[in-house]
């Protein structure tokens, strides 16, 4: 097991390097010099050159990359071109914001999706199943910017019961309830997709499981419905569920860009958009790194969890 983890991590390193190299190239390929943004209309050549050297972009790409890598090893992600703040100082707050939204979204999604998916599979092709399936298709099909704005319009502007955006009431005394209120709408918008997606997977795998011989055995034993369902059925659905979770989480960590935009959620996604617009390379690289690491980490975690939920899998 330990050996397996070490091996996996070692495999991960070249992948990570490749991701960062690709990302560095792509980011640097983008036309337009960051200095175009950070100088005023009447700036002189000399000022531009001075800024370029101050930002460290006066050197050739490979050297820039290796400098970045060297800094990374020392835990330094550079400073933001836009705000000149060390990226490492800003990153945690952004991650916390995104993770908060992600956690509430995924919690709500999965708590709803897993039972709904199971019910759907159990009543396969019945009215309830068609209803759940239909709504979940809707959830996948509705663009979240549209859904989000509609919710803002209804709940924030017309009814005035929920805030339009942000993470908390600024200058208010904050507090849990206030934060929860801010979480509701973006959570609904994101959960619409993640919940629907999960429902589909849970439903599909439960349908397969219901057809399994061991489920027949459990029935033939005369066990109670709930025990058959949870004790025998759902147990075997964890592997696909974990697979979905392990792709959902990095997807969200990579930024729920549109939703964060709409709800002014100060997370990774919003940061990324402004960083792209500002050609803020260090920030982009950091976000990319976080996203890539999360993909790889959750891949690994998923593999390890498989072994926990399925005794047949051993490393």
């Amino acid at each position: 097991m330990g050996k397996y983890i070490v091996k996996r991590i070692l495999i991960t390193i070249p992948v990570l390097l490749m991701v960062t190299v690709f990302c560095f190239i792509i980011v640097n390929l983008a036309p337009g010099d960051p200095t175009d943004l950070y100088i005023s209309e009447n700036a002189t050549e000399q000022q531009i050159a001075q800024m370029r050297s101050s930002l460290g972009i006066d050197q050739p790409f490979p050297i820039q990359y290796f400098k970045w890598l060297l800094n990374l090893v020392q835990g330094n992600l550079g400073f933001s071109f836009a705000s000149r703040l060390p990226v490492i100082d800003v990153l945690p707050t952004k991650i916390i914001a995104t993770v908060t939204l992600m956690a509430s979204t995924l919690l709500v999604s999965y708590l709803l999706a897993i039972p709904l998916g199971i019910i759907s599979a159990r009543k396969q092709n019945g009215f309830v199943d068609n209803l759940i399936t239909g709504v979940s298709f809707l959830g996948i099909s509705i663009p979240n910017f549209f859904f989000g704005l509609a919710l803002i319009y209804i709940f924030a502007l017309q009814l005035g019961v929920l805030p339009t955006g942000g993470m908390e009431t600024l200058g208010g005394s904050g507090g849990l309830v206030d934060r929860m209120q801010h979480l509701i709408l973006p959570t609904i918008v994101l959960a619409a997709f993640y919940c629907s997606n999960m429902i589909r997977y849970v439903r599909a795998s439960m349908i397969d499981i219901f057809a399994e011989n061991y489920m027949r055995t459990a029935t033939a034993k005369g066990l109670k419905e709930t025990l058959i369902l949870w004790g025998h059925g759902v147990r075997n659905a964890w592997v696909p569920i974990i697979t979905v979770i392990s792709t959902d989480i990095p997807k969200m960590l990579g930024g729920a860009i549109v939703t964060e935009q709409i709800f002014q959620w100060p997370g990774i996604g919003q940061w990324m958009i402004s960083a792209i617009n500002a050609r803020d390379y260090p920030v982009l690289m950091a976000i990319n790194l976080v996203a890539a690491v999360s993909v790889l980490v959750f891949n690994l975690l998923a593999d390890l969890l498989y072994a926990a939920v399925d005794p047949r899998i051993r490393y």
């Binding site: 705000s83 707050t93 200058g171 904050g174 759902v234």
Partner: protein, 550 residues
Amino acid sequence: MASFKKITLLIMIMFGMVFFLVACGGGEGTETTGDNDGDPSGDITSDGEEEDTLYIGLTNAPGGFNPLNASDTVAQWILRMLYPTLLEQPESLVFDGNLAESFETEDNQSFTITLRPDAEWSDGEPITADDVAYTLELIANPDVETTWGVNISSLEGLQSTGKWEDGAAGVAGVEVVDEQTLILTTKTPVDPNYIKEMIGFNVYIVPKHIAEQYEPAELANSDFATTPSVSGSIYQFVQYETDAYVQLEANPTFYKGEAQLKHVYLRVVNGTSLVTELQSGGVDMAAGGGIGVVPVSEVDTLAADDNLDFESYPGFATQFMFINNEEFDADVRLAMMYAIDREAIVEQLFRGNAEVLNSTYTSASVYFDPNVEAIPHDVDRARELLEESGFDTSQEIELTVPTGNRAREQSASLIQQNLAEAGFNVTQVTFDFVTALANVREGDYQIGLIGIPLTSDPDQTYLWSQSGTTNLGRVNDERMEDLLEQGRTSTSMEERQEIYSELQEYWRDQAFSVGLYGDFQYKVQNKELNGGIKEFWGGSLHDMHEWTKD
């Protein structure tokens, strides 16, 4: 059964995690805000707390808080709340004393500045002439990254870049007389308004005792530039939550008196959210002036909102269709000018909340000459001119359109149609703003839409001179150079007005570019707010310490 317990436990852990995250989310931010953070009952915000808090909506994030190096308008605007300037400008080119009690000259070359004796930094240190001189020295120091070089370049002893000559290490044109007095000397006589705007109004005075703790070369990347600790103006910096909000609190030592609104949050939101926040009361006012822009499509909605004050004024924000002068001669350019129905753009797209840009000055500018006749929309004339020019109309012309401004994107569609009517073969190419700007800057374009924020000072050398840093049209015209030179060196406002009238006329005839429209400034704010945006946006903050909320 055991699995039930496990699942329940798992769910509880997950709930716990969410609560934890929610409770401590943005933890750094709230440390300073209040101590009842995480107190479940703390959500009831008392009215008293909100009454002395001002929420301002911004549509752009500030690029740092470096008083010496702030190219973006947002940062400049916020810095004005944090650092004193010598002068105020409540109306365009009308200057009042601020840190300076007086700012006088007799020869238009030597300016005597007397500072208020009572001014203090927020840490209790007095603000003296030394601070002013040190600020100017920093700007002139070649090691310091700064955007203000050009502002002070007229001073004695400085190059045209605003940096001192090699080995000079000091600004000859700055002389500290005593704690409250200093004298600035320019290389040649200048229009006092020029120096008043460029140095008096635009340059933020930095605390010498703080700034000198840093190596000049490292100032731009230091916490001096990112998290200012000492303020000399209305507010002091509390924190910046990147891309989310800037939090300020009243500076008790402010020389004009402590602000009535003790807290300020400048929230960074997108245009749509700005509207929803304004309507829901999440922000009290839009920052306006190109940094707190409500989308033009929402203007009617906002104007109709009973809770909001809505006014619009001509401003300094402009949109040009730049024409690559190297590719198109004057006739063709003029044909384009005739072809584009700018009235329609202004009337229909902006519902009148903009003005046709007849010249290179908006009506907000005192140098704007209303007598320069506008070129009307005249397709026939355009065709005629086009024919005369012998321009090959089959040639495909690319119209570069930057994204990020819906009204501009929409106007592009109209412009394309207009030009097509006149016989041009135009296709739109869209790029994100930076790319578009980069392409245009490098001359890698034919025609393109770019917005230019103008200044109250009429000098536009940077735009239309061959040596201009933002000569996007690649203008290379002797007469124009001449006029710009005259305007720049003239020392009286009347004289300058004359020169610039001529320039406007010449500019129109040559159609160096097509002025499309000048966006109106909107004042959108909660009716509860007393104060807010002024007709001259740049001077809106001069009485900010007196603003209140009902």
